[in-house]
């Protein structure tokens, strides 16, 4: 579905994409992860044929530079921040659905599928809609035409936790035939949506694999924060300090944090039980993007 080879893009001498090569097969669900300014949005804009670039970039066999309009007819897009549209929700559906040759009924059905009633909200000004509702509307517009490729550029970045959960749930209803290419900062969204993860750093691909493989490669994983009594705290810290499954042991007040690959967390819980420690509370924390990236950046530096 996507084939990039030696893709390069610079703005006023500043290199944003640096000879990027990647392939995404039809039907795959791929997440693009990277810090701000690493080229995620630039890559998406190249995919949409909005920017000139060097190298080769094919979408469904079409060159994004030469066949921009035909490429965009095959791509549904949800931006990071919903634009300030004017008019009503009905106007929005008629215009943007119309540009894709869609009948309003088709858009309305797709919106219904995402728990949005166009009939109820058609006369509502778009400016009166919540961010979550607007992003779901854009998702409905992006998928109503049953496009083969869906580009989601950090679609949950500006949503509150509830709206984010709803958006991610809405994504689950996207046809399995559709290739989903999602860029995000949030590992929990990626975990819910994507099977494969691409890590972009300084315009280059530094990792291609699953989240578990990334955690293992980066020697960074989720942290299991365990609330314990004072003496139990010391025993736990000592017991896990030499455990090969645990990447790092941290302490924070009456809690000990055990950082390990996500798959190892149930085993660590069992180990706590075997040690006979009374667990007062428990929570897990996903690894930060910076933590996951640290290994790759260090490797670059060396």
């Amino acid at each position: 579905m996507i084939h990039a080879s030696g893709l390069a893009k610079a703005f006023a001498g500043h290199v944003v994409l640096d000879g990027l090569s990647l392939t995404v097969a039809a039907g795959e669900r791929v997440a693009l992860l990277g810090l701000n300014g690493t080229g995620k949005t630039t890559l998406f804009r190249c995919l949409l044929g909005q920017l000139p670039y060097e190298g080769e970039l094919l979408i469904d066999g079409l060159d994004a530079r030469r066949d921009g309009r035909r490429v965009r007819a095959r791509v549904g897009y949800v931006p990071q921040r919903p634009p300030h549209f004017y008019g009503t929700l009905g106007d929005l559906a008629v215009f943007f659905g119309g540009l894709r040759g869609l009948d309003l009924q088709v858009v309305a059905r797709r919106m219904d599928h995402l728990d949005l009633s166009l009939e109820d909200h058609a006369a509502k000004p778009v400016s009166a809609l919540s961010g979550g509702m607007l992003q779901k509307t854009l998702l409905a517009l992006a998928t109503a035409a049953e496009v083969p490729l869906l580009l989601l550029d950090e679609p949950t970045a500006n949503l509150d936790p509830r709206a984010r959960r709803e958006f991610v749930r809405a994504l689950e209803s996207v046809s399995t035939d559709t290739t989903v290419f999602l860029s995000s900062h949030r590992l929990e969204d990626i975990r819910a949506v994507a099977d494969r993860l691409l890590l972009l750093h300084s315009g280059r691909l530094v990792f291609d694999g699953t989240i578990e493989e990334l955690e293992a490669t980066a020697r960074a994983g989720s942290t299991l924060w365990v609330g314990l009594s004072d003496d139990a705290l010391e025993r736990a810290a000592q017991a896990f300090a030499s455990d090969p499954r645990v990447v790092r042991v941290r302490r924070n007040g009456s809690r000990v944090g055990l950082e390990a690959a996500s798959a190892e967390l149930p085993g660590l819980l069992a180990e706590l039980d075997d040690l006979g420690l009374e667990v007062l509370d428990l929570r897990t924390e996903a690894p930060s993007l910076e933590r996951l990236l640290a290994g790759f950046v260090d490797e670059d530096a060396s």
Binding site: F11, L48, Q50, L51, P52, G68, R69, R70, R72, A73, V75, Y77, P79, R81, P82, P83, H84, F85, Y86, G87, D91, V94, F95, F96, G98, L99, R100, G101, L138, L151
Partner: protein, 277 residues
């Protein structure tokens, strides 16, 4: 989906935007009231001084139009693309199956139609009344066509500025400053140049055809008053050199060029603006 269908979608969207923004209705109302006032004054003058009374009052309409029609066109046109860029909708729009050229053409067609409708509503009512009062329909139709040409010229110029300048406030300011410059460099500016620097009259005549504000004014006055007496010595010189018919066609051609050239420049500017949106 055909280009025609895509353009129709843009036109419907822009018309809806114009109606919601209320400028469409406000401009139509101002145009209607202004037109009716001038027609009423013309009818009074006709009773006093005969047929020439129409010419005088319709010349008043020319001055009113020179001030008002470019503003009617410039405000929505200069904001059109700059506003989309500022709101983030242009980037989203360019992620849809449309080209930059189609976006520009669609915006132009939508804004142009909204402005044309606004003029039509106001002017045809006033013009209809003028015909009932005895003004030859030919005057009304030709002056209506001239008004549309003037409006389209400024829609094109405004949209070209909008494609190239940002933010919206800056685009609108550039448009208005351009219009003020054309006004200042009109007949008074030409006279000043003639007196102060001795600019040859041929250059002044040429400039009168190139400046869209002057072209509109001279063309319409030629229609009402073929010897161009209303324009003073420059008008008399023009009439003697070219004749009213050539002046009419020449000024209409100038306004058409002012529609076509900025349209091409604006579209090309948006097409070249590939690093941003």
């Amino acid at each position: 989906m055909s280009l025609r269908t895509r353009l129709r979608l843009f036109v419907v969207r822009e018309l809806g935007h114009a109606l919601r923004a209320r400028w469409f209705l406000a401009y139509s109302a101002i145009f209607l009231v202004g037109g009716l006032l001038l027609i009423a004054l013309g009818a009074r003058d006709t009773m006093l001084i005969g047929y020439r009374g129409y010419a005088r009052s319709l010349a008043g309409l020319v001055h009113f139009a020179v001030l008002f029609v470019p503003l009617m066109a410039l405000f929505p046109a200069t904001a059109a693309i700059a506003e989309e860029r500022e709101n983030g909708t242009l980037e989203y729009l360019l992620a849809q199956p449309v080209t930059r050229g189609e976006v520009f053409l669609g915006k132009w067609a939508g804004v142009a139609l909204a402005v044309v409708l606004s003029i039509t509503v106001g002017y045809l009512l006033a013009g209809g009344l003028a015909v009932l009062r005895g003004v030859p329909p030919r005057f009304v139709w030709i002056s209506y066509a001239y008004l549309l040409l003037l409006a389209l010229a400024f829609v094109s110029a405004g949209l070209a500025v909008s494609a190239l300048a940002e933010p919206r406030a800056w685009a609108v300011t550039i448009g208005l400053l351009g219009w003020l410059a054309l006004l200042a460099l009109g007949s008074l500016g030409a006279m000043a140049a003639f007196v102060r620097w001795g600019v040859p009259s041929a250059a002044l005549v040429g400039w009168s055809f190139v400046n869209p504000v002057e072209a509109f004014r001279i063309g319409l006055v030629a229609l009402l008053d073929p010897d161009l007496g209303l324009l003073g010595p420059l008008g008399a010189s023009l009439a003697a050199r070219h004749g009213a018919t050539r002046i009419l066609w020449g000024t209409a051609l100038s306004l058409l060029m002012w529609t076509a050239v900025p349209l091409a420049l604006g579209a090309s500017g948006l097409l070249r603006r590939r690093q941003g949106v």
